[in-house]
């Protein structure tokens, strides 16, 4: 995928395999699994128009999982000398012998077939401290020139992960992640704007666009006035959609559905596979090979992660089954999604706004937390740019709101969709689980109360 002039960060396939074999060689348990995670992380942080901190860390973590019969235990260490590794193996084995049996344990996997994925971008892996500082300083300069105040974060990771089992499984993945986010505020604290990017490839991070968009939002949101809470038609920018939808990812698990504690549980027993639950334009997939949103194609246990269609045209098509639950239900095992990709449409954000008679444009959210798991409802707040739309135009900036909203209702209430993009959906600004979503126009979104926060 990339012309790698410099060595990749993290252990190479050979180094990872050798390390795994060294551990498996000394293992005495019935089954042993080794997970190796290695690489670097780097960051540059700004606030008050200065670089406040920057740093780099390298680490290698080894997890040894030992199994006797159905007794399982694991030990993690980042000490790689022979003595320490042997001690980790002996500790895991001793702990496993003491552990009560786990009746759901299934033997370690043997060799598997995986989707080929290379998620390592040299543009990210080779990024220097100076380059990060220069990119960060664009935000500072934009804020300075407008007599505003910038706070930003560039997060970089590059490395590899591997899993090996005593049943001869070995899997390896190498990848990078980068996120750049920026908040620009007026010095009187009366306005705030945000912009960000996330990807695997540093070349997709638009540092200048981020600086100008954060400043634009900050300018446009100034002078906000009150708007009464209530149910509104809303236009959600793609970041706002991504922040909500990343909470949907964990819902696609068959077991809680079958056990009666999920939105996907069927009254009277079983789950709702095959039912049309959402607007017919809603299609949600996951795919470890998605460009600039790559993930490892295997789980920590070595189970393959493949492209899966979870929701197709509003119908629940797939639920994830752990190996145990799949065996119990007599279906094939399916890993949970490792990324979240929602199909979009072709309506631009401007056209969405033009189509709204009276509604609210939302840039992004904050402090999203579960409220009622039975209806997948969440609470949280709007942030860094909230606007009233009237007769197809932005009428005025308005106060932030707390929302209380069922995500499943939201997916049933979609009106318009824009093109899907990868978004910086992690509230912390970390380069996290890839989320690719469109901007949406949605009806009946509950803005429950006003927030004075800016």
């Amino acid at each position: 995928m990339q012309n790698n002039i410099r060595k990749r960060h993290g252990l190479s396939p050979d180094e990872a395999r050798q390390l795994c074999l060294k551990i498996l060689d000394v293992a005495r348990a019935d089954h042993t699994r080794v997970n190796v995670t290695s690489g670097i992380s780097g960051f540059t942080r700004t606030a008050m128009n200065r670089i406040t901190t920057a740093g780099e860390t390298n680490n290698v973590t080894v997890r040894v999982t030992s199994v006797f019969g159905k007794r399982v235990a694991s030990v993690d260490t980042n000490r790689l000398d022979d003595t320490s590794l042997q001690r980790a193996v002996r500790d895991a084995e001793a702990l496993a012998k003491l552990a009560p049996e786990n009746p759901e344990y299934l033997p370690e996997l043997s060799e598997q077939k995986y989707t080929e994925v290379d998620g390592y971008y040299a543009s990210t892996g080779d990024l220097t401290t100076e380059s990060r500082a220069r990119a960060a300083s664009l935000g500072i300069k934009a804020a300075d020139s407008a007599k505003c105040v910038a706070a930003g974060f560039i997060d970089v990771s590059a490395g590899s992960q591997a899993v090996a089992t005593s049943n001869r499984l070995f899997a390896y993945y190498s990848g990078t992640g980068v996120a750049s986010t920026l908040t620009i505020r007026t010095p009187d604290g009366l306005s705030s704007g945000w912009a960000g990017n996330e990807g695997g490839d540093w070349n997709t991070i638009e540092s200048e666009r981020i600086a100008s968009d954060a400043l634009r939002k900050c300018r446009e949101w100034r002078g906000k006035t009150a708007l009464e809470p209530g149910k509104y038609e809303v236009v959600l920018e793609s970041t706002a959609v991504g922040m909500l939808m990343s909470w949907m990812m964990v819902q696609f698990d068959a077991r809680p559905a079958d056990e009666g504690r999920s939105f996907f549980s069927k009254r009277g027993g079983g789950n709702r596979l095959g039912e049309k639950l959402f607007d017919e334009r809603v299609t949600i997939i996951s795919n470890p090979a998605e460009k600039n949103a790559e993930t490892s194609p295997f789980t920590n246990a070595g189970q393959p992660i493949q492209r899966e269609d979870w929701i197709e045209n509003g119908v629940l098509k797939r639920l994830a089954y752990s190996r145990f639950w799949a065996m119990k239900q007599g279906v094939p095992a399916k890993a949970n999604p490792s990324n979240f990709i929602m199909s979009g449409g072709n309506v631009s954000l401007d056209d969405m706004i033009k189509s709204v008679k009276r509604g609210v444009l939302i840039t992004r959210f904050w402090y999203i937390r579960p409220l009622n798991p039975r209806i997948v409802s969440f609470t949280g707040l709007t942030r860094d740019g909230t606007f009233l739309i009237e007769n197809g135009k932005i009428a005025r900036p308005v106060t932030n709101f707390r929302f209380n909203q069922s995500l499943t209702e939201l997916l049933a209430n979609v009106e318009l969709m824009g093109p899907s993009v990868r978004v910086a959906s992690d509230e912390s600004g970390a380069a996290g689980t890839p989320v690719v979503v469109p901007p949406l126009k949605v009806r009946d979104f509950t803005l429950a109360s006003v927030s004075d926060a800016i």
Binding site: A54, A73, S74, F153, N372, N404
Partner: protein
């Protein structure tokens, strides 16, 4: 083993106005530094100084964790982990650089120190700034260990599993209860700090986090309800788990989970609230702990955790009325059992306690060495209040919340008296859903168990309750607080802040308290 002041002494201090701080005391019987580790720390400090750092601090930390978890009648996790390495923070000009490595050979430690200096120098070239650090007294041989009776790592895993199984089995006896998850996390952090100013401090922090979560499901699968026990993590040994009586208490938690299925849906509207410490600690954390962080107030967290409504300092310090005169809140890294309790912070500043809200008035923030001078003209405090913390060797230290606690009433008012003073209200136990805006105004909290109070008596269970309020309105609606017999600690091991995000363990003590006319919503 402990040399901390006890809580009664803090209670007395809490009422005292002014800025007098109370410090923890050196423990002479705590373990000292490992000679090889100390040598590496000195190597790193030398290398940083030689490379041009005007100041550097170095942390070798070894974090150990043991986790055990069970669901119903089976074990789901038995694991141990260790993470060990060195982190070096260097100041060049006025810019910070940080580098960390797991490779603890002298050459790699020295190289990592030089890398930290190089990063600081790069930043200073691109963006030169000034960073004055508040004075701190050198501690040449500091030693501290969390006071405890029984090291949780000495308790065999079978004994822990047995406790979880017995607890789960008891819960499953209750009709309607189908699922129980229980777990115990034991944590030990060995932290060796060295600074170019000559401090060398070895601390061993112990924390323990038990959890029980019971789920009841209606017979037709149309509804399910959970009851989390809201067991507070604690800086303590295994004796804390023994004292929780999980096996005995789980029956009540399970019965409450089942009862929630048929409880009366709350009528949305304005209610009085009686909040137990198992619930109120989290409201304190979000609406007092975070907004009184000075770095937030000054914009350092604007891109993630947010800023604070308590800003600018000159407009709010000693002026802003947070709540009624009966409201006294202290920052306290010496609170016995507090998850943020220690001997010194990550800059070698002694653990201490100080008033944050005095008789309802906001009087001080939380500071570090870098931040103290920002407000010293207002507070007359030149020194740091000691809140620097990095979660592990790989993480740069920055301002983290100390234990922030609402002090009890000097009169020993009981829980019954608080309930009796409530004509029409909701009694809330346990922490539930929580969310607050980025300046800490608008919040919404759920809970675990809700009881309607009518004419001073708890009459029936309610469900689907959450309350929404604005921080100053909420605290000014507090009309009654319990005495010291109702004071308890709540806590979290996972308070997130910073970029890259770091987790902090922190406790909040409080008595039971009564709030008038709060907006309650129905979450169903």
């Amino acid at each position: 083993m402990t040399t901390n002041l006890d809580r009664r002494e803090f209670v007395k201090l809490a009422g005292a106005a002014g800025i007098t701080a109370v410090f923890s005391v050196q423990q002479t019987n705590a373990p000292g530094p490992d000679a090889a580790e100390k040598d590496l720390v000195l190597t790193a400090l030398d290398a940083a100084r030689s490379a041009g750092a005007s100041y550097a601090d170095v942390r070798i930390t070894r974090g150990n964790r043991e986790s055990i978890a069970a669901r119903e009648r089976q074990i789901t996790n038995v694991s141990k982990s260790e993470t060990y390495g060195i982190g070096i923070r260097a100041l060049v000009g006025g810019s910070w650089g940080f580098a960390a490595t797991r490779e603890l050979a002298k050459e790699s430690v020295a190289a990592t120190a030089r890398q930290a200096v190089m990063i600081a120098a790069s930043n200073d070239r691109v963006n030169p700034v000034k960073t004055p650090l508040a004075p701190v007294k050198k501690v040449a041989d500091g030693r501290w260990i969390t006071p405890h009776d029984i090291d949780p790592f000495t308790i065999p895993i079978e004994q822990k599993a047995d406790l979880l199984f017995t607890t789960n089995e008891e819960a499953l006896r209750v009709k309607g209860v189908r699922f129980v998850n229980s777990s115990i996390n034991s944590i030990r952090e060995s932290r060796l700090l060295g600074t170019t100013e000559g401090s060398v401090i070895q601390q061993t922090l112990l924390r323990i986090g038990p959890n029980v979560n019971v789920t009841a499901v209606s017979s037709d699968n149309s509804d399910f309800q959970t009851r989390n026990a809201s067991l507070a993590p604690r800086s303590a040994g295994w004796e804390y788990v023994i004292g929780l009586d999980m096996k005995e208490n789980v029956l009540r938690w399970a019965e409450e989970a089942a009862a929630k299925l048929t409880a009366t849906p709350v009528q949305a509207g304005v209610w009085d609230l009686v909040l137990r410490p198992s619930h109120l600690w989290l409201t304190i954390h979000e609406s007092i702990g975070h907004p009184t962080e000075l770095d937030r107030a000054m914009g350092y967290e604007a891109n993630f955790a947010g800023t604070s409504f308590l800003s600018p300092p000159e407009k709010v310090l000693n002026k802003f009325r947070y709540g009624p005169a009966l409201m006294n809140v202290i920052g306290n890294r010496t609170e016995p059992g507090g998850c943020s309790t220690c001997g010194w912070d990550d800059e070698g500043v002694p653990a201490q306690s100080w008033p944050i809200i005095d008789k309802g008035i906001f009087v001080n923030y939380q500071t570090t060495r870098e931040m103290a001078s920002w407000i010293s003209n207002l507070t007359k405090v030149r020194e740091s209040l000691g809140t620097a913390y990095g979660q592990d060797w790989a993480s740069i230290p920055f301002p983290r919340m100390p234990n922030v606690s609402l002090q009890p009433n000097l009169q020993d008012i009981s829980e019954d008296e608080v309930v009796a003073a409530t004509k029409h209200g909701i009694y809330i136990e346990g922490d539930g859903s929580y969310s607050i805006d980025q300046q800490r105004y608008n919040f919404q909290f759920g809970g675990q168990v809700f009881w309607e109070i009518k004419d001073g008596k708890r009459i029936r269970m309610l469900r689907d309750v959450a309350y929404q309020a604005r921080t100053p309105d909420f605290w000014n609606s507090m009309t009654m607080i319990g005495g010291k017999s109702t004071y308890r600690l709540g806590a979290a091991l996972n308070d997130g802040k910073g970029q890259p995000q770091q987790l902090n363990a922190v406790s909040h003590g409080c008595p039971i308290a009564l709030f008038r006319n709060v907006n309650v919503i129905n979450t169903a």
